[in-house]
Amino acid sequence: MKEKKQIVRVYVVYIGMLVFAVAIFSRIVFLQLMGGGELSAMVEESTVKLVKIDAPRGNIFADNEHKTALALSVPRYDIYMDLVSVDDKVFDKEIVALSDSLARLFKDKSAFDWEQNLRNAKIKKSRYFPIKKDVNHIQLQKIENFPIYNLGQFKGGFIKLPKTKRIPPYGALARRTIGYYKPLTATSKEYKVGLEGAFNDYLEGQNGELLMEKIIGDDWRPIPSSSNKEPIPGKDIYTTIDINIQDVAHDALMNQMIEQNAQKGCAILMEVETGYIKAIANLTNDTVNHVFKESFNHAVGLASEPGSTFKLASLMVALDDGKIRITDSVNMPGKYCFYETCLHDSRVGGYGKNTIQYAFEVSSNVISKIINDNYASTPQLFVDGLKDIGLHKKLGLKIPGEGSPVIKDASDNSFSGISLPWMAIGYEVQQTPLQTLTLYNAVANNGVMVKPQFVKEIRDGNKVIETFGPEVMNFAICKESTLKDVQSMLAGVVERGTAKNIKARGFDIAGKTGTAKIAENGTYSNKYQASFVGYFPASKPKYTCIVVIQGPTKQIYGSLVSGTVFKEIADKVYASGLENTRDQSEELLATMSYPYSKNGSKEELKTVFKKMNVPVKDNASQSAYVITNTNDKHVLMGSKVIPGGLVPNVIGMGLTDALFILESQGLVVKVIGSGVVKNQSLNPGTKLNKGKLIILDLI
């Protein structure tokens, strides 16, 4: 381009663009000088806002066909009061009545206190005075009719903030294993406990976003927009926990903890073949309030010196290495000294001369000498034997907070001259109760070590998206012959050894007692850890169970303190014949051409039946909830009339549906047992009084 006119015009354009650029930069400077305050006021006044919609959190279910919820989310409300918007005259006239109503409903403050507080708040012109948190639906309905509040938000200053609250329908049962999740906030860090924490990514779902616009007052209406995002509900966790066994284990442990006034204790029941944890109870003595609480997961987190239960591992190593046979004869004088330190048998004077098998059964500490004699020159060989079993590794649980096992190497600085004999009887090593249980379970499971599992399935609605089958950690923890030997020794412990007292009628138990001094602050205290771990029926093991109780105050021995709890659990599990009932119901189901179904939400049932190609005859055109009746041709749906003002019939429904219906009608629900509703304490069709208690028997 050579023409002068053109060159000038090009520069004119350039200068124009430069002016544009300067304008943009000036605008930025202007906005920044204007400051955030004015702008945020503008955003505040904006009639459009982006609202976060919380995704419903997934539920946690127990292991049965009835979808018994161990954790579910229910609606709750936080109540506040805007005292400025209440007219002074109205306030003076009604404050006494309101205070009285509040006092009667919540019972934690007197009417006088309420009145004082509210009057003070009124003087201070409080616009956001907290009344009560976590109010349920029934309470909310009552509060809404209280004097002053019945005038609504603008005249009565009544503010309710809906939220969802996570509740455990079964209270303390497996509380710590179910756990909780608290998200990261400005004031607190993230807390992940138990299954709620471990599976939070599945449970939490994905929050949605919705653009809303203001219509009148403080009412907002969603604007249709392509950028709106529906919340995706969380997935449901189907645990391995059997609520009935859990109940038994919890009660048995609780009774013994109270009896012994012990410090902490846990009881775990595991299915031999699968590693599924059917029950896990953890109790801690809250010495301030004198109650026992599920406040720490000892079963998973408490790595401690196991004591005699570890002798099993020691002998397995020695047997596998061919160092000993269980029929070898040993002398048990009752005192075994290594350098300056001596170990004593619990019976003064020992057990005389007998077989190694007998020594194990009576839990003689001669085992320390046996191991020391055989491995003193090659201690690492013994350590390697323990490591080959896998005792030095964590189980790798999904639940956070697993305690680290300790198995020292011979080269470790802390490995002293007495380490070997002490390790042989379960000191200077550490295992968590669950880790010990896993070892015994492997013995019961013919040498196959499976990982303990708490979750069977993760489902998205009714669709299974992930299953957790048995996970083998070690295909053979020892030789076949060793396995036979230790199995017979474990049976002998109950047959004629330290656990004679728990010998059961009708089925055999095999196991091992453990009584260990607890190390505190580097030295051994006079507190004991009493444990019993074993499996039953001994001949064809179905369940493995461990009970560990720390700091009992009446007795100290594993057999008496923990063995009795073990026995109680085993008795009830065996007596209720849980596996039998399941077989029967499966038979029953097999004879019908179409599946049996619970009563419940019509749309949900229809969806399921449609997926399964089951013909449905719908006689319930109007109802949302239906009664089902399975026959040869189809599943018949009848109206489940839920009349207003009358107690609904929830018999035959699952807990989730029943809770929803009853709570929405304003009843207070108490649940006993698990499964489907068998009985309800208020007869269906009787007059419904809001706030009344209804007890549901579930089977």
Partner: protein, 382 residues
């Protein structure tokens, strides 16, 4: 390294430097700005978006390297042919294109208007060169120039007003630079206004141009107050604009740091329309805004240098037209981001994500580099 650069990076080194700096900035910005968008659109996994962006940039770079070796004389012929291709594609898109926000701009995954922009500028440059001697004459010189402009912009207009307007403006400025007299230019503006009013009237009567209502609401929401803004689309625009203003104010001189922008999370189109607000929030007025403005203006300056130095008139018009289009786009996007202009939907060249727009930007830059390359080689021969 030097050899490698000599072999592949021909043309104006300063332009290369600017392009590489912009690409790097783009990669950083995309990583921080995309995460929220990706979260919204996918299951919370942001990286795929980012990788796609980086891959597109690399592909664009390859295009640029290739185009600077291209025999320049072919561009004029390509324009002659391409104008028909672009025109037909636009026609097809208008009839069958994919409907995004009631704007039919897409066909087979790309916006033909992106192609049409380059082709039209090449074509206008070609005509300006051919009609050089008759430029003073309206009938013989100016009218044949206006005709393709009106036709192409008219085809883009129903689906994408702002692009049509932008492209029309660029062509108009090319006519200005090309030596069309002020009197004739005034006549063109008058004609355009009459034509536009005519279109609005047709729409009012028949409703065949659904986007016209969108333009109206955007204008209303920008110039009017919220009370006037009645429908939800303009409310969303208002909401976004306020969020963007917050973001800009939030940024300060040095910004909140990459990925730390908080307002971004609420700004809907953090990716395209308001990417500049996000940049200011995270990188500040100094590192974010000033640097970007400088880079684009320097790019324009270097391109103008090529415009003025190159021997061929065709080349100089092309270099001017393409660089002006890119910089105008950039400034318009920034203007929207700081709420100086109503929402237009123009991307920030090289920075905004969006595959084809980046590729066509790279093609434009490649052509400019080719032109500057001709000057450099000429020099070295001399």
């Amino acid at each position: 390294m030097q050899e490698l650069a000599d072999k592949y990076l021909k043309g104006d080194r300063s332009i290369w430097a600017i392009v590489i700096l912009l690409s790097l900035a783009s990669i950083v910005i995309a990583l921080s700005a995309s995460s929220n968008m990706a979260y919204r659109l996918t299951d919370g996994n942001a990286t795929p978006f980012w990788f796609k962006h980086v891959a597109t940039l690399i592909l664009g770079l390859v295009f640029m390297i290739y185009l600077q070796h291209f025999k320049f004389k072919y561009f004029s012929r390509i324009a002659q042919l391409g104008i028909w291709v672009a025109g037909s594609l636009l026609l097809v898109t208008l009839a069958f294109g994919k409907n995004i926000n009631s704007a039919q701009r897409w066909i087979m995954g790309f916006q033909p208007s992106d192609l049409a922009k380059i082709v039209l500028i090449l074509y206008v440059a070609r005509l300006l060169t051919i009609k050089k001697d008759k430029i003073g004459d309206f009938k013989e010189g100016v009218l044949p120039l206006i005709l393709p402009i009106v036709l192409i912009c008219g085809l883009i207009l129903p689906a994408d007003f702002s692009t049509a307007f932008l492209l029309g403006s660029v062509c108009f400025v090319m006519l200005f630079v090309g030596g069309v007299s002020i009197k004739h230019l005034g006549a063109i503006i008058g004609g355009a206004i009459v034509l536009f009013l005519f279109l609005i009237m047709i729409n009012k009567a028949t409703g065949i141009l659904p986007r016209v209502s969108t333009w109206e609401t955007r204008m209303v929401s920008f110039f009017g107050s919220e009370d006037i803004a009645k429908d939800s689309e303009s409310k969303i625009d208002n909401f976004q604009a306020n969020q963007a203003k917050m973001a800009v104010a939030n940024g300060g001189w040095i910004g909140q740091g990459p990925g730390r922008g908080s307002v971004k999370n609420d700004t809907y189109s953090a990716q395209s329309d308001f990417v500049f607000a996000t940049i200011v929030e995270e990188f500040g007025a100094l590192f974010g805004a000033f640097t970007l403005l400088m880079l684009y203006m320097m790019f324009f300056f270097r391109s103008i240098r090529a415009t003025l130095k190159t021997e061929s008139s065709f080349g100089s018009y092309v270099a001017f037209g393409l660089s002006f289009l890119l910089v105008l786009q950039a400034l318009v996007n920034m203007g929207v981001g700081v709420n100086l202009l109503p929402v237009t939907g123009q991307p920030l060249p090289l920075i905004s994500m969006g595959g084809t727009s980046i590729l066509f930007t790279c093609i434009s830059i490649g052509i400019i580099l080719n032109i500057s390359n001709n000057i450099e080689t000429k020099k070295s021969v001399v």
